[in-house]
Structures are given as C-alpha cells and as structure tokens.
C-alpha cells in the first residue's frame, strides 16, 4: 500500500521535566524525557519501579496531584500544547481523545454500579447519546474485546466477573469514544499469563483496527517485546535509551538496558547452563541522584567522565538514541560480571539423594456453607471447594520443585497444607518419614523447625516494629538451634550471607527496600536450618534486577545448606530456570509433573502447552505457537467431570467422539521416561507429536 507522507505524531514530548513540591523544596521525578508516538504505534516504556514511568503518563493527562507539575518542556497532543491546560478543556480531552487503562481494573470500576451503567455513562455524558443507543454501543464494544455473553455482562457488577474480564471492560470503556491516544500503565501485570496473552492479542488487534496511538508502560521485558513497535528505557527519571523493539533486544547499547536483559531468565534456560546477572545497587531516590550519569554508580564501565558530565541523548546510525558517553565502545558480549554479583556456580546433584518429602494422594477440601435456611441448620447438601485433589509427588533432598498454574489452581493451598497452616482432608504426606498431615499447632517443635516458608509479600509477614535482627533471631531463640550468646553472631552471619551486612541488624522493615525485605524474609526462613523451605511466589513482587539477585541467593543457599525447596511462581521462565522438577497444576489437580526440561518440551500436557504458548518472551524474534484457552477457569466448587481441563482443552478433538471420554472419565497417568508423568487421555504417542511451542530462540547473548 502507498505510504503517505508521515503524519504529525499524536503525542510528542520534548525535554519534559516533572517536579513534585515537597517539604524543603522540589523533587524532579522526571528529567528531560522526549519521545513521540505516531498513529497506530505502540510505544513501550520499561524500567524498574521508581524510574518515573507512570509519572510521565500522568503528566500527559495532567494527573500529577496537587503538588506535582510539569516544570520544563512541552507535551504536544495532536499539535496542541497540553502543559497548562486545565478545567473544561482538560476534561474534554480526557473524555474524547485520551483514555487510560491502569494496572488494577477493580480500581477503575465503580463496585457499586452495574457495568452497563458505568460504561454507557461515557457516551451519555461526553456525547450526549441516548441511554438505549449508548447501551447498544457498549454491547458492540464488549463484543469487540471478545467478551463472552456481552449483553449479560452489562447487567453484572464488577465483582461478578473475573479479573481478565474486568480488564477487558476497562479497555472497552476506554475505547468507546475512539480515543486518539491510549495510555496503558501495566494493564496486564495483575493478570495470569493465559489472560495476559489474550489481553495483549486484543491490544494488538485494536491498535490496528482503530489506529490508536498507545503508550504502554510495563516492567516486563517479555510483554514489551510482544506489543511494542518502539521502546524507551527509563532509569531514575531519565530516558536512557530509545530504539525499535528489535534493536533494543538484539543490540542494546546502554549498560542499563544490557543489564536488564541479563537479569531475565530466557524461557528454556536452566540454572546449570546459564546464569542470571543482577544489576548491583539500586535505583537512587529522586532527591539523591548522583552527579554526572545517573546510572554511573551501578555501571560496570563507569569512568571519570561519567561522574562529572551528564551524558546527552545521542543518536546512533540505526536511529536509536542512547544516553551514554561510551556507548560506541561498550560491547555487550565482552561483558564479564564483577566480583560482587558473581552468581553461584552450580555443582551436579547427587542423583541417589534420599527422598525428603513424599506426598501421596493429598486432598484439601474447604467446606462451603450456603446461605439458605437448610444450610444454616445443617440439613443442606454439603459442598466443598476442592482446592487440592490427589496430589502425589516425591522430592529428593537438595532439589527444587517448581509449581506453576493460573491463579486459583491450588498452588498456595498445596504448600499451606504441607507446612500445616491448613489441615489435610485426606491422603498422606511424609516428611523425613514423619507424618505432616496435621495442623501446625499439633506438630512437634523439631518438625516445625525443619519446615519453613518464604512468603510472597515480605511487607505483610514482617512485624513492622521489630528490628531485622530481632526478627531473624526469633526462630533461633524459639527452636534453640543456637546458644543464647551466639545468636547475634549467627544472625550477622546470615545477614552477610544475604549480602546485607551487619549494619542492617538494627534497622526496621520500613527502612528497607522491597528486595532487602525479601532477603530478610529468606534469612528468617533459614535461621532454624530447615531441611525444606517452601517459597510462595518469593520474587513476583520484585523488579527484575532484584529478582535475579534473590534467585541467585536462593541458589547459593541451596548449594551451601543442601536445602530442599518448593518454589511457586507464575512466571514460567523463572520456574524453568530455578527448578529441577516442575509440577503444572490446574483446578487443584496436578496435570503434569516431571524434570524441568521435560515439561518444556514435547510431550506436553495440552494445558502446559497452552501455558507455554502464552508466556511473553523477551525476544521479539522468537516464534511461539498461538494457543489461547477459551473461557475462564471453572469454579472449584463444581469442577468439570472427568478431566478437569476438558471444558477448555484445545486438544480434545484428537480423541474419538470429540473427546467424549474426557468429560466422563478421569484420565490415567501417562508415564513418559524419567519420572515425567502426564495426566491425560491422549496417549503419549499423540502427545509426542506436538510441535515445540517455542522455536527460534536466539541462543546465548
């Protein structure tokens, strides 16, 4: 098709600086950010938290709060200056031309209004459309975003639909007025990979269809690779690199971009063959940025000039812009890690290790009480949420079991049952030969000592008024693993092992960053020298560079103490990297379990295959199979008969009668080699014929 002369960009930022007025002066949260977005283009913005990504988006719509303002520079939208626009004109712009989608759909939706009412409001208020017509438009738009049963969804309240559907409603609402610019701030971060994949497909479709310019903010390098055409990397309030998406991944020029890419495990990489290199240090707070290059203190190539002179954004022949004095001289492939971030070396495991944990047919049901009178007096039919069904596995000492699955699949319940926060409904679980099916209150102290847990959110598991030292010392005192005089010494030893140092002993949790808190959480779990540590999403809430550091730390701990780990995560690349064995769960049922490399290659369970095809890969050239699951995860109160996955299984058709057997009988365990088991009616020979999900992964780099 004929390319028309380039139209003016929809959004153009020039040297924008955003400042917040605070006590004792001003803080420039964002400095000298420039970029432009054209029609039908998605511009990704990545960086760690606290780098000013969201502030840029807020500045565009003048949503900076009472104390924030655009200090310098200009923001032009469709050729109009936005800086300083207020009142009626701003209201009109936000309603008619610019729309926003934020991370948490529940915060964008009014919980007390029916979805139809809040959606149609956009049209009745901004366009003065009649209610009937507006509703019709809303239904059409919901169908556009592939919402099943759109007309009915209009009558529901936000809590009555799932998270992925909520986000679709928010996106549909944002698109109702056909905006020229869509600001998306981590729109898929709170969603499961399968839902995320569907939402990302949707965004790509809509961009093409509506020619909308999209500014896409995320910390996930995989997501950016999938949706963006160009990417800007932000660090400490500055844009340090801007280029096309292919260029950023193939040929990152700024040391920070290179560091970010080294932090993320590639899907298919494992701990024996590859290593993660965290970026040392952390993002400086905006009121304490270093002179010269902001990345200087964390950069491996730092020189005298970097400390004195602030680099400018310079253009390179391939049209990428880099803010670095020495970008031409830096060759990413020649990089060697410095001493302090050198990851642990992994030595081979003793194959004949003893079995430390043996779980057999473990079940955990939660009783559900209905609200009818019959239920209240106890005559009603007893109903159960079958959170974990027939879980069986064995875990040799010193290995890691990764557990993956969508939210609500029973991952967390499984480990809560193991540690004793929940009792077991039926089945056996033996830890070093001791029975651990009872609740923690009935367990022997020595047993509790051997089983410890690291939680997802270190904030809510640490007592805010106890110092770090006290918190780590507590298990030592309680289990009397160390004599009283030696506790302090031991705590400091642990802190050092966590790379925190003695000066952290007297700090309070609020004085720590997220990554540091998680280190303390791990130190506390290890304080009693446990044999088995259960980790519930320990790195999900952390930035990639911190995530890499924590993963390395856990690996090191495992090497040193020969600890056994059960590791829950929803990030399949992390699980693949970290685990020796992987279990894939769906609706409380383990669908596939086996050695990590076997799970990620055929034969696949159809569910694992779908999960893998949904993972965003931080490599725009990788080819991935396109499998999207239909519908939602069914309710665990009333799971589908037969195979629990049959309602969404894309491979059912391969069986005779369109997979009639799947809905009638529970599938058998198919034993592939090497302890790899698949819970499926499809015979192994058929499962083996599936093509690998991911091809063309660029090696190394």
């Amino acid at each position: 098709m004929t390319e028309l002369k380039k139209a003016p960009p929809v959004l153009k930022l020039e040297d924008v600086a955003v400042a917040y007025k605070v006590r004792g002066g001003e803080i420039e949260a964002v400095q000298d950010v420039s970029f432009e977005i054209n029609r039908g283009e998605t511009h990704g913005i990545v960086g760690e938290s606290g780098c000013g990504k969201s502030t840029v988006a807020w500045a565009v719509v003048n949503f900076l709060g009472a104390n924030g303002y655009v200090k310098r520079g200009s923001i032009k939208f469709q050729g109009k200056e936005l800086v300083g626009v207020t009142g009626e004109e701003l209201r009109r712009l936000r309603g008619d031309q610019i729309a926003m989608v934020y991370q948490d759909p529940m915060q964008a939706l009014n919980p007390s209004m029916r979805l139809g009412d809040q959606m149609s409001e956009v049209l009745t208020v901004h366009r003065g459309m009649a209610q009937k017509e507006a509703e019709q438009r809303c239904i059409e738009m919901l169908e556009r975003v592939y919402m099943p049963d759109a007309a009915n969804v209009m009558k529901r309240f936000p809590h009555q639909i799932s998270g992925g559907q909520q986000q679709r409603v928010v996106i549909a609402t944002a698109l109702l007025n056909n905006p020229a610019l869509l600001l998306m701030d981590e729109p898929t971060t709170a969603l499961d990979v399968t839902v995320e994949a569907a939402v990302l497909d949707l965004i790509a479709d809509l961009r093409r269809e509506f020619d909308t310019a999209i500014m896409y903010i995320t910390h996930n390098l995989g997501v950016v690779a999938r949706v963006s055409t160009r990417v800007g990397v932000m660090y400490a309030g500055e844009m340090v690199e801007r280029a096309t998406v292919e260029e950023i991944y193939k040929n990152p020029r700024h040391p920070y971009t290179q560091g970010l890419i080294r932090c993320v495990p590639k899907l298919g990489a494992d701990k024996a063959k590859s290593v993660l290199y965290p970026i040392r240090g952390r993002v400086p707070p905006p009121n304490n940025r270093p002179a010269g290059c902001v990345f200087g203190p964390r950069c491996d190539y730092v020189q005298e000039r970097c400390r004195e002179e602030r680099p400018q954004l310079r253009e390179f022949p391939n049209a990428s812009l880099v803010r670095c004095h020495f970008a031409e001289e830096i060759v990413a492939s020649d990089w060697t890690p410095s001493e302090d971030i050198m990851p642990p070396s992994i030595t081979g495991k003793d194959v004949a290790a003893e079995t430390i944990l043996k779980v057999d047919d473990l079940k955990k049901y939660y009783k559900v009480t209905g609200s009818s009178l019959k239920d209240v007096i106890g005559l009603g039919e007893k109903r159960y949420v079958k959170a974990v069904e027939n879980a069986s596995f064995e875990l040799p000492r010193g290995t890691t079991l990764g557990v993956v699955g969508e939210s609500g699949c029973g991952k967390s319940t499984l480990i809560k049952t193991l540690i004793g926060l929940e009792d077991t409904t039926s089945g056996n679980a033996k830890f070093l030969g001791f029975d651990i099916t009872n609740e923690i209150a009935n367990r022997d102290l020595s047993l509790i000592q051997e089983l410890q847990m690291v939680f997802q959110n270190p904030d809510s598991t640490m007592n805010p008024s106890y110092t770090v030292g006290q918190q780590i010392a507590r298990p030592m005192e309680r289990f009397k693993t160390v004599s009283k005089e030696k506790i302090r010494e031991e705590v400091i030893k642990l802190l050092t092992a966590m790379r925190l140092g003695e000066n952290y002993y007297n700090r309070l949790p609020r004085q720590l960053s997220g990554g540091e808190k998680q280190r303390v959480g791990i130190a506390r779990a290890l304080a009693s020298h446990p044999d088995l540590v259960l980790c519930d999403e320990p790195v999900s809430a952390l930035d990639v560079s911190v995530q890499a550091a924590i993963l390395n730390l856990l690996l090191e701990v495992q090497q040193e103490f020969n600890t056994t780990l059960v590791f829950i995560a929803h990030d399949l690349s992390v699980v693949r990297f970290f685990s020796d064995q992987v279990a894939v769960m769906y609706l409380g049922q383990i669908m596939e379990i086996g050695p990590a490399d076997a799970i990620y290659a055929p034969p696949y369970h159809p569910y694992s295959e779908a999960l893998l095809s949904a993972v965003p890969i931080p490599d725009p050239t990788a080819k991935q199979k396109h499998i999207r699951l239909e519908g939602n995860v069914p309710s665990a109160i009333n799971p589908p008969s037969g195979c629990r996955f049959h309602t969404r299984c894309p491979r059912r058709e391969l069986l005779p009668d369109g997979g009639k057997i799947c809905s009638q009988e529970s599938p058998p365990w198919r034993e592939a080699d090497d302890g790899h088991r698949i819970f499926c009616h499809l015979p192994l020979e058929t499962l083996r014929t599936f093509d690998p999900v991911i091809t063309q992964l660029t090696e190394g780099s």
Partner: protein, 218 residues
C-alpha cells in the same frame, strides 16, 4: 475500498472558540491543510481550511494597522469556518468513488468522515490519489500494459485467461472507457514476474484487442 480503509483516523481537530491565528499556526506546525471544528464529544461543527483563513488584502485596504491587528486578534475559528449546508461530510462505510464524486462536484479537497455527527476521520484528495496509485499497483515493480478492447462482454476474461494460462499473476488492474473514444475500453493491467516480451506476445495473440502502451515499471 471504503472510506474507512483510506481515511486518516484521529485527525487533528480544533474547537470553534479558538482564535483563527492559533488555527493558522496549528496547520503550519503540523503540516496539515484542514482542521475539522468540533464541539463536545467530537461533534462536527464545521471545517477550517487554509483557503478559508486567507484574508484578501483588498479587504484590509481601508483599515489602518491598528484596526487590522485588532480585527485579526478578535477573529475566531467559528467566524471563518465552513459550516451549515456548505459543510460536506461522508460516512466511513461509503465507497471511495462516492467520496470522490462529492469532492469533484463541490470542488473541495477534503471531507470530514462522520458517524452520527461524530468525527471519526478525514479523507482528502491525497488519500484518494493513494487509492488510485494502489489500484494500479503503483508501489510494486512489474510490466504495465494498456490494452484497447472493443466494448463487448468477455473481452476482459480473454486477457485474464491468457495470462493465467501462462502461470503469471495480475497484481493490479483497472478499466475505463477510452478517453475521446466511447466505443472502446482501455484496460490497464500490471503483471508481476513476467518477461515483457513474452507477455506482449501472449497479449498480441488475442483477436480484436490492441496494445497501446507497454512499459516496465520498477
């Protein structure tokens, strides 16, 4: 080939209360020639063009420089825009030839595209030229042949059959009644991956038709 496929979505728009000087500046800075004038909810009110902003010097002859500057600074977009029944618009689901007809008839260079009175895009003569160029395969290389055929049913089929038999593909084609000769038709085709001489030989073999122009376009 509908208006919605070729229009520019999300055009730059302006509100009626904006000073005309501002509108002139916006057009200049963004290198556009037309601005739809919209009210709340992108409802169309008018259209402002570079032509409309051109104030003939004769109108200013009797005024002194102070009056000129005062009058200019008071001028608003709503005072100068095309509005009411003079304003031509088109729907996104109309055909391109319909839009072209409207533009030819009124001798105008642009049509705001509206749906229920809401601006969804803009289509200009440049967009229509882009369509014309695409229609004739302007952006690809190949052999472009113009054939004059009698005004009879089945003549076009003869051409396509002859080319298909050779295993070549027609990338683009168009047909018009020959200019100044209403009894014949001129068919223009663009064939890719075909040697020019062979193609000419094949087409010359068709009875009653005449090749009037052949050129290799790269």
């Amino acid at each position: 080939m509908l208006v919605k496929d070729y229009m520019t979505r999300h055009p730059i728009m302006i509100s009626p209360e904006t000073p005309s000087a501002e509108a002139q500046k916006m057009m200049l800075e963004n290198d556009v020639r037309h601005l739809p004038v919209v009210g709340d909810g992108k409802r169309i009110l008018g259209l402002i063009t570079r032509d409309k902003l051109r104030v003939p010097p004769s109108d200013l002859g009797s005024l002194n420089i102070w009056e000129i500057s005062r009058i200019l600074s008071d001028l608003k977009v709503k005072d100068m825009m095309v509005k009411g029944k003079d304003l031509e618009t088109v729907g996104p689901n109309e055909t391109l030839e319909f839009a072209a007809q409207a533009m030819i008839k009124n001798k105008i260079g642009c049509l705001p595209v509206t749906e229920d009175g809401i601006v969804v895009g803009i289509i200009t003569e440049v967009d229509l030229l882009a369509e014309l160029s695409d229609l004739l395969g302007g952006s690809v290389s190949g052999v472009r042949v113009t054939i004059r055929t009698p005004d009879k049913v089945g003549e076009y089929a003869k051409i396509t059959t002859a080319i298909a038999e050779k295993g070549w593909g027609i990338y683009a084609s168009g047909g018009v009644r020959s200019p100044k000769n209403p009894d014949t038709w001129d068919v223009i085709i663009k064939v890719r991956n075909a040697p020019k001489d062979e193609l000419v030989a094949v087409l010359q073999g068709i009875e009653g038709q005449e090749i009037i122009d052949v050129r290799e376009v790269s």
